[in-house]
Symmetry: C2
Subunit: 527 residues, 2 copies
């Protein structure tokens, strides 16, 4: 039986808080001690990845307190409760089953009278068969020609995760001859988003994937109409160009408007849905279902590590604990995600949703206000680009921002040039190595303007190459990190009541049922 307690009521948290300021990175990251830290402060991840936390403000003493906190907060038990099918999303009274899309970690889970693992794998099989037929031309357009483009219509979790993963694997798939169809994404209700995408494609050879769990998302339904209008104007039958990803109870589920419908359910939140049919349909169409299966395999292997009780064998749990230490004990307001890989250009935007929408809460699981800060601001851009942009503030600004680097030994495409004795890939890797040490150790200078205080903590996830398996493992790592942090803060990471008020007021504006400030803003914007 697990107990849900606020972070500040835990004895181990109070003991942890007493260690604030005990680790000076400028010292422990220097010389031989620094070298030893980098070798030993590393946790193996799945798929040959490693989570290296040598440049975090922890030492063996702090780690012991973090381990005690993990035990007292029952992190492993809470994760087990989750994957064994307890109602962890208490606000919405739902199970939380996104892990089950990629494997079964514990007991069989039955809900709505069916085995959920069977349900998710059945959807994967259905998608795989559909994708195969599209790729072979068995499912084709009215002229009998193959579809060449797939367009995902969705917003939030139906957009950010699938888009980030598509971009992460696009070049990899091209090099490995598994690239089947180009993918595009329409998300924003801004009509220029849909119009620009439609202007950039050949609609006659495009398949549209409409993604909405409820079948009621304003942006997505509006963009569906936009697309249907374009198909009609091109003299095409929209129902032969569209598939739906939705819940079985949604109005879209059995509509004849779609070539096929693939199902998700209420036990998978939008921001955790990349592993479900939400990511599965578009990614299987773009790259083939084998690539999507490899992505799921990587995520599942990483999920298994997240079930470990020992924080030194559980990278997501350790990362979560260090993050809470930085946020609540050291008082840092944000975390930057900095992948040294252009293919991960939109991965920080996805993590921004996964993290900020899950843990940007002020009340605990019981609806009681908490007395401590919860989820941080998450932002980031790929390196080395960020180095020429916001790193100035990270190095010399007045706030300390913990950093999450991601780096790979090898590029995806493999084309490279040797300039001044090194390849571009080596320059890329040299930069991330240099940054970690620069942030941790700093540099003294007689001129204060050229002085670096150091003590700016970072960790790095290192891998051989960005592949379907490794991006799966990395995604799992962050999803599970966010989950463990939610457990520590005692918040429900799986609802999002904070998005409701804006929706309600927007409807009032459109119905012209406003007064006061809202009426004047509406007039200003010509609504």
């Amino acid at each position: 039986m697990v107990n849900w307690n606020n972070l500040d009521t835990l004895t181990s948290y109070k003991e942890l808080a007493a260690t604030a300021g005990s680790v000076d990175l400028t010292k422990v990251m220097s010389g031989e001690e620094g070298a030893k830290r980098v070798m030993s402060y590393s946790v193996p991840m799945a798929e040959g990845l490693a989570f290296n936390y040598a440049a975090k403000s922890v030492d063996d003493n702090v780690l012991a307190k973090l381990a005690a906190l993990a035990d007292e907060a029952q992190l492993a038990d809470k994760f087990a409760a989750l994957y064994n099918g307890e109602v962890i999303n208490t606000g919405e009274k739902r199970l939380v089953l996104h892990h089950m899309c990629r494997g079964q970690l514990g007991d069989a889970v039955t809900a709505d009278g069916i085995n959920k693992r069977d349900f998710y794998t059945a959807q994967q099989t259905k998608i795989a068969e559909f994708a195969k037929k599209v790729h072979s031309g068995e499912i084709a357009n009215a002229a009998g020609e193959k579809f060449t483009t797939v367009v995902q219509i969705g917003i939030g979790g139906s957009d950010l995760g699938p888009r980030a993963i598509y971009l992460a694997l696009e070049n990899w798939a091209k090099v490995n001859n598994t690239f089947k169809m180009e993918a595009k994404f329409i998300s924003n209700v801004d009509p220029d988003d849909a119009a620009a995408v439609l202007n950039s494609i050949d609609v006659a050879h495009s398949l549209f994937v409409l993604v909405s769990k409820s079948g009621t998302t304003l942006e997505t339904l509006t963009n569906e109409s936009f697309v249907k209008e374009a198909l009609k104007n091109a003299g095409l039958d929209a129902s032969k160009h569209m598939v739906a990803v939705t819940s079985e109870t949604s109005p879209l589920a059995k509509s004849s408007d779609y070539l096929a419908a693939f199902f998700m359910d209420d036990y998978i939140g939008g921001r955790f849905s990349s592993s479900s049919a939400v990511g599965g349909a578009v990614l299987s169409l773009a790259f083939g279902s084998e690539v999507f299966a490899a992505f799921l395999k990587g995520a599942n292997e990483e999920d298994k590590l997240a079930a470990n009780r020992n924080i030194k064998e559980n990278p997501a749990m350790l990362d979560a604990l260090i993050g809470v230490y930085e946020r609540n004990v050291l008082g840092y307001p944000a975390t930057a995600v900095l992948p040294y890989s252009q293919a991960l250009s939109r991965f920080p935007a996805h993590l921004q949703q996964v993290d900020m929408e899950s843990n940007g809460k002020s009340v605990n699981r019981f609806g009681e206000p908490v007395n401590y800060v919860t989820g941080p601001i998450i932002f980031g851009e790929p390196g080395t680009n960020g180095q020429h942009s916001f790193y100035q503030l990270l190095h010399q600004g007045t706030d300390i921002v913990p950093l999450q680097f991601i780096g790979f030994k090898n590029s995806q495409i493999g084309t490279d040039v040797d300039i001044q004795g090194s390849t571009s890939q080596q320059k890329l890797c040299a930069n991330v190595a240099a940054q970690i040490v620069a942030f941790a150790c700093g540099k003294d200078d007689a001129n204060n303007n050229k002085k670096f205080a150091g003590n700016r903590p970072s960790s790095i996830i290192v891998g051989d190459r960005l592949t379907p398996e490794t991006i799966g493992a990395i995604l799992s790592h962050f999803e599970n990190k966010v989950m463990f942090q939610g457990f520590l803060w005692n918040v429900n990471s799986f609802d999002q009541e904070g998005v409701q008020l804006g929706k309600v007021l927007a409807k009032k504006v459109l119905a012209h049922e406003t007064d006061g400030a809202l009426k004047v803003y509406s007039d200003l914007l010509n609504i």
Copy 2:
């Protein structure tokens, strides 16, 4: 004569600090008072735009203190000193002249023996003539065929601003028949960035713009080699496909490796260089020089407003003052930039550099550590996408994040659908109006989980449409806001010493001159 004093030494700042918490947005934004605020708390900007700050935590009393602070900090005098050619970038002992690319606000400025306004306009003319010849086919590839694609090779300020503005105007230019060439951007030293762009274009019909002020930027020179290799492999003469944007003293300036060279100088920092040849070459090639001229005109009109002493006639100064109030008095760590326009998808990333690289400093202009926080974290994504991502934290998280909305009455492309009684554009605008009021006023609820505390401040820049003139004015607004905030914090906003240490250490890694932690990281990454 201006005096450079720390913010916390100013009498008006102490008086301002005493007003903390005096404005309750949930009250003043309600009912008739709220409506009046939205009508009156608005400052006209150039090109028909308006800066509306009704939902900021200010009232007439706070505004009076802000005006006093503007006077005591001599903001208008300092801007005048800047545009009249004083050495405002004291760290690097340089003038700061990016405003002069778009007009002359004060005295003629002579530097290096030449009139600088003449210098910048001469470069614009040279670029315009070159672009015209490219568009007409007078300058063509070896086969005598027109160039169809322009590829900018640059990083940081040579990438983010030009890319954001290109994306802002791409659809506008297509609709207005001024779209001349597609633009692509290579920035990251990650070899997959250059390889992917090169794989996506027809190099035989591509013109490359190499942008590096010093002619020594590692990423840019590496990517130049990458591109030259690709041109060579395609049997093409690289010197017939490349132009340079650089300073006259750089090794690139008179090289025969380029079809043409356009010049910038040391008085324009990278992040402020969109108005110079750095933005001018790629944007004039993509859209025609008339479009770039219209962009400069919008920026210049907005710059003129920034010279006003009255904060109610100077939107950038007012915005800057409110931002400092939020950062230093109210203690908010970050600001989100939220354009309700998909075309502005990369504009927040550009502002992230403009702001964080300028004011992410811990020492004042004299190299003395300051006792207060300076530049905030800047992040953002377009609405409505952000609503389905990180807005949960903005509404219900434990930290308050001030918000900068941007909205337009009309779309750029003009294609739209009417669903449930409103167009997509109306839905877009209804959402931004609703969000402002939701953040300010909040909503009570018996269930704490559905409660919105409100008092989350925002402002909005409203305009008719995103055009070359309006994006110019908006860019000027933020550049000048950042400049005024630098004056208030008494930091030098025009250097970036914080980027140096990483560069030095990366060179050591590549030269295999490392030990300790850096050596182990280098081994981990296989360098």
